[in-house]
């Protein structure tokens, strides 16, 4: 347990780990496989890898990385659609830094920028709006993506544009929503999960109630967790405790940030500007019903999909990529054929290598866990 020393409070960490070990043995007894706990959020994935939490846990527990990194689930066709938008001479295409590095079928937005396309990296959608203010002769398109954490900021920026009467700003909306995604995971036949670490900041927006079906219909525990290593350990213990007591409830370990009701103003803005799409295409997971949102008719002026004809390209991932299996939790990143050889964070082939919240990039950057795992696999 050498990484425990890196914790802010190693004593506490040891205590939680002991409690987890004892409980895990009890709960797993009689099962022919380890307990599977999925962390839905990419932020949790990052903490888990950075602090080596996976290898501190007893063998009775296996963490499964969920699809909660919005950049990682972006299909290649979407990037190509963006490139097509950026080709319009009047368009300035804007987006977050991570999105710029996602490979399209021919190139990423970053490469297109290097070749002269007017693609700009912004920190916030409000920065995109301010570019629109300065360039009234141009159409500024914001490539919007992310779960409910970033959705309010995009919605509020549209409302701001409306208030100011700015007409040369629009969204290429690729926001996705967390609940249908978890539903799809629960319905997938090849994944047996025993509990969920619920996303911290998505929950800060949507609150606790939307998760109730997980407890009520699927009879699984979900604990909304903070991002510090101790938060994660405590949340894992809370899940185990529910399993031991045969409870399945939505609990909140991250009460210092997440309110039961979520954030009212943020939800109101989302509701005003966005509506659910029938289907949305995910990388590796295919099409998930009602998992994406689009701009409502009333805000058509701010919808790039209505202002431009977007090719809506469907492009299969390169054959060598196994992102889909990794995303579904059925393959470990290091077992992908191109992991660490042709696919690295510098030259990502798949989106899971792009963001530090992607499972492959996390595996790559914190490679120490690889050697540990293979040791464990060969000795047991």
């Amino acid at each position: 347990m050498k990484y425990v020393d890196e914790f802010r409070d190693p004593e506490q960490a040891r205590k939680w780990l002991e409690k987890i070990s004892a409980l895990a043995k009890q709960v797993q007894a009689g099962k022919d496989r380890p307990l599977h706990i999925m962390e839905v959020c990419g932020g949790h994935t990052h903490t888990i890898f950075r602090y080596g939490i996976k290898q501190m846990l007893p063998p009775e527990i296996e963490l499964v990385h969920g699809p909660g990194c919005p950049v990682c689930v972006l299909p290649m066709g979407r990037v190509d659609d963006c490139l097509a938008l950026a080709e319009h001479p009047e368009v300035i295409l804007t987006t977050f830094g991570d999105a710029m590095r996602v490979p399209g079928s021919l190139k990423s937005l970053l490469q297109a920028k290097a070749e002269g396309a007017d693609v700009r990296m912004v920190y916030s959608p409000t920065d995109a709006l301010s570019i629109a203010r300065k360039h009234p002769d141009k159409e500024v398109v914001f490539f919007a993506l992310g779960f409910e954490t970033t959705m309010p900021s995009t919605a509020l920026t549209v409302l701001q544009a409306e208030e100011e009467g700015i007409k040369n700003f629009s969204l290429f909306c690729n926001h996705i929503t967390i609940i249908p995604t978890i539903k799809a995971i629960l319905d997938s036949p090849d994944l047996q999960l025993d509990g969920f670490l619920g996303p911290g900041h998505v929950s800060m927006i949507i609150g606790q109630h939307p998760y109730l079906f997980i407890a009520d219909e699927h009879k699984k525990p979900l604990v909304i967790a903070g991002f510090e290593p101790l938060d994660i350990l405590q949340s894992i213990w809370m899940i185990l405790n529910q399993l031991k007591e045969q409870r399945h409830e939505i609990e909140n370990q991250y009460g210092r940030v997440v309110q039961v009701e979520g954030n009212h103003n943020a939800l109101e803005a989302i509701e005003k500007v966005f509506e659910l799409r029938e289907f949305f295409e995910w990388r590796g997971l295919g099409s998930i019903e009602r998992s994406g949102v689009r701009v409502r008719e009333g805000y058509a002026l701010y919808d790039a999909e209505r202002k431009f004809s977007i090719p809506n390209l469907k492009i299969a991932d390169p054959k060598s990529c196994q992102c889909g299996e990794v995303l579904r939790g059925t393959l470990k990143p290091k077992d992908c054929k191109v992991f660490g050889t042709t696919c690295t964070p510098e030259t990502p082939l798949g989106a899971l290598m792009v963001s530090t919240e992607g499972a492959c990039a996390a595996y790559y950057s914190y490679g120490r866990m690889d050697s540990f795992e293979s040791k464990r696999e060969t000795t047991t």
């Binding site: 932020g43 990052h46 903490t47 912004v122 920190y123 959608p125 954490t149 210092r256 954030n263 009212h264």
Partner: protein
């Protein structure tokens, strides 16, 4: 992009549009505070509050200790540096 970053509100720059200046570990930037404003918390009362900021929007109030611990975590994850870089790049892209 998903973790958010803590900052302290040091100036209300535009109460009507709910804009404020925050200080994030010494870096200043304007953010939108509409998500933390309500009848009980008018914009003017937010001065001095610690908030968690996601892509330019203050999403929730946190206490000072939580802010300090989150900053430390982000630093260890390398995310703090990335956020600052993103803010800087954004300024560059919009001269």
């Amino acid at each position: 992009m998903c973790l958010g970053i803590p900052g302290k509100i040091v100036e209300i720059t535009n109460a009507e549009n709910k804009l404020a200046l925050v200080d994030v570990a010494g870096v200043k930037r304007e953010v939108n505070i509409v998500c933390i404003v309500d009848d009980e918390h008018p914009p003017e009362s937010c001065l001095g509050d610690w908030v968690l900021i996601h892509v330019g929007f203050a999403m929730t109030r946190i206490n000072e200790e939580e802010a300090a611990r989150t900053l430390e975590l982000l630093h260890e994850l390398g995310e703090l540096q990335e956020e600052f870089q993103a803010m800087k790049n954004s300024e560059k892209e919009n001269p």
